[in-house]
């Protein structure tokens, strides 16, 4: 039973004679890993300590083939440097304790992450401007982090500022090549288009969250972002990549043109420029927005393959694999074909 196994694991980690786990429940979201929430209590110096945890366990099959070690190490490294993230506790890279690798992190209570809640719950309406400001400010902070000083060289920097675009094309073209189950003329043509229309060199090589968007942060009812989540795709690259990813249509949840359902595009650019010191370059954004849509389609192809090969029975994987068409429409718009 998972609860008992978590109790045994925590006892060893905390050094407590007994740990009681309660309210263990799997929570939706985070499709690349299983996410479990639970409370734990244990005696410490004659008192009872109670804490909420989140456990992220590798699935049998996933939307993304990512290293949980990488996500853990980066979140741990950026904590306390102006980027709000849950405190990271323990990482297990083997399946000895819970069958599959996992990590345990702090649970941040009293927050929402679902775009439906954040954008459509009336409690958040008056907070939208504040939330947008924080959203932009934190992105700028991620980009201003000294990744060398934080020991993040292991992420592997592009050869130079001009290599960022080609490096990402290579990565995602590889995923499409590996996982596509049927011909993908639009995606293949888009890769060709991108190779002919590489963006200008990055203004500086920075830490890229690579999935920074509405839906991947925890915000409270004061409009404060208290945790940036889902760092699975983190890497080093061009800051415009993150700016453009936040802009892509799939994350404009309200069906209008506002970025992330939060802020007008021009305002987003202006605030980001002020906060980061970088200049938003339209041709770079076009390239990275196109790559973002292709990347999302590639992620869905990975999920679809997992489903079709029987590595998962998740309806989400089947469903997403059937939702690439709208991305193709967006890709063709951006290519202006």
């Amino acid at each position: 039973m998972l609860q008992k196994r978590i109790e045994a694991y925590l006892s060893g980690k905390i050094g407590a004679e007994s740990v009681a786990v309660s309210h263990l429940q799997r929570i939706p979201g985070g499709a690349s890993r299983e996410t479990w929430s639970f409370d734990a209590t244990w005696p410490e110096n004659g008192k009872e300590v109670a804490r909420g945890f989140v456990l992220r366990r590798d699935p049998d099959a996933s939307l993304l083939e990512t290293e949980r070690d990488l996500e853990f190490r980066v979140m741990d490294a950026v904590a306390g440097h102006g980027v709000p993230v849950p405190k990271m506790y323990w990482l297990e890279s083997e399946g000895a304790f819970l069958d599959r690798p996992f990590f345990v992190m702090e649970r941040i209570d009293g927050c929402e992450t679902s775009p439906t809640k954040v954008l459509l719950d009336p409690r958040f309406f008056p907070l939208r401007t504040r939330l947008a400001e924080r959203f932009v400010d934190i992105l700028a902070r991620i980009h201003s982090l000294d990744w060398r000083a934080r020991g993040l060289d292991f992420l592997g920097a592009p050869a130079d500022e001009g290599a960022c675009g080609a490096m990402e094309i290579e990565k995602w073209e590889g995923v499409v090549g590996r996982d596509a189950l049927e011909p993908q003329p639009v995606l293949r043509a888009a890769f060709r288009w991108m190779r002919r229309n590489l963006p200008p060199p990055a203004q500086r090589i920075v830490l890229i969250h690579a999935d920074y968007r509405t839906g991947n942060f925890l915000c409270d009812t004061e409009g404060e972002i208290r945790g940036v989540l889902d760092w699975e795709m983190v890497h080093l690259g061009d800051p415009m990549e993150d700016v453009a990813w936040a802009c892509i249509r799939p994350w404009r949840w309200l069906g209008d043109e506002n970025i992330g359902g939060l802020i007008e595009r021009e305002q987003f650019y202006t605030q980001y420029e002020e906060a980061s010191g970088f200049t938003v370059i339209p041709e770079a954004i076009r390239f990275w927005e196109l790559l973002g849509n292709v990347k999302l389609a590639a992620i869905f192809l990975t999920g679809a393959r997992s489903f079709c090969e029987g590595r998962t029975r998740s309806p989400m994987m089947a469903f997403l694999g059937r939702n690439i068409a709208r991305l193709e429409l967006e890709i063709m718009d951006l290519m202006e074909v």
Partner: protein
């Protein structure tokens, strides 16, 4: 008379929404039922027209490949990879296109035609806009028109959120190739 496939799928959706979901206490299970609802909705949206669409697409793809082959033939003279694409087109068009109306047969034919189209389109991306590429540019434009029409079909969960405005504009324009391009 018996319930149609679509009516049966609707019954499954109703059961999920009205009987099963209210009994669920877990947020994860509720989330899974919502995903299944959307999966069923996507099946409903294409069920009735799937065979007709595939059959028509296969005809269109044949015609697009024919035009692409003619456009490439001129450029292929001194280029081995283009010669090979032209030869692939010829072979594909020689194959018996008169498939049955069984969906998997139609889909299989569609996949082989689209595989060739993929090679063509990648080549076109390298050749477009060059001096003397008029025929290629025209064929390329026709191919993208078709791909846009296919991509705009059916139902996507994004149509009720992110793509809401975009798809409303497409649908109000009649959803034709030209309309798609106009709102693009």
């Amino acid at each position: 008379m018996r319930p149609t496939a679509i009516e049966s799928l609707r019954a499954a959706q109703a059961a999920l929404a009205e009987l099963i979901a209210p009994e669920l206490a877990s947020a994860f299970a509720l989330d899974a039922t919502q995903t299944v609802q959307m999966l069923l909705e996507s099946l409903v949206s294409e069920w009735d027209t799937a065979a007709a669409n595939l059959s028509r697409d296969n005809e269109t793809l044949g015609s697009l490949l024919l035009a692409a082959g003619e456009a490439l033939r001129g450029a292929a003279k001194s280029n081995e990879s283009l010669v090979s694409i032209v030869s692939e087109i010829e072979q594909r068009l020689r194959e018996d296109g008169a498939t049955s109306l069984v969906l998997s047969d139609l889909a299989s034919r569609n996949a082989s035609l689209r595989a060739t189209l993929e090679s063509v389109l990648v080549a076109f991306e390298d050749l477009t806009g060059r001096p003397g590429s008029k025929n290629i540019d025209e064929a390329r434009t026709r191919i993208y028109k078709h791909l846009r029409e296919v991509a705009a079909r059916g139902w996507s969960f994004w149509d009720v959120s992110s793509f809401r405005g975009r798809m409303a504009a497409i649908q109000s324009s009649g959803g034709t190739d030209d309309a798609l391009r106009a709102v693009g």
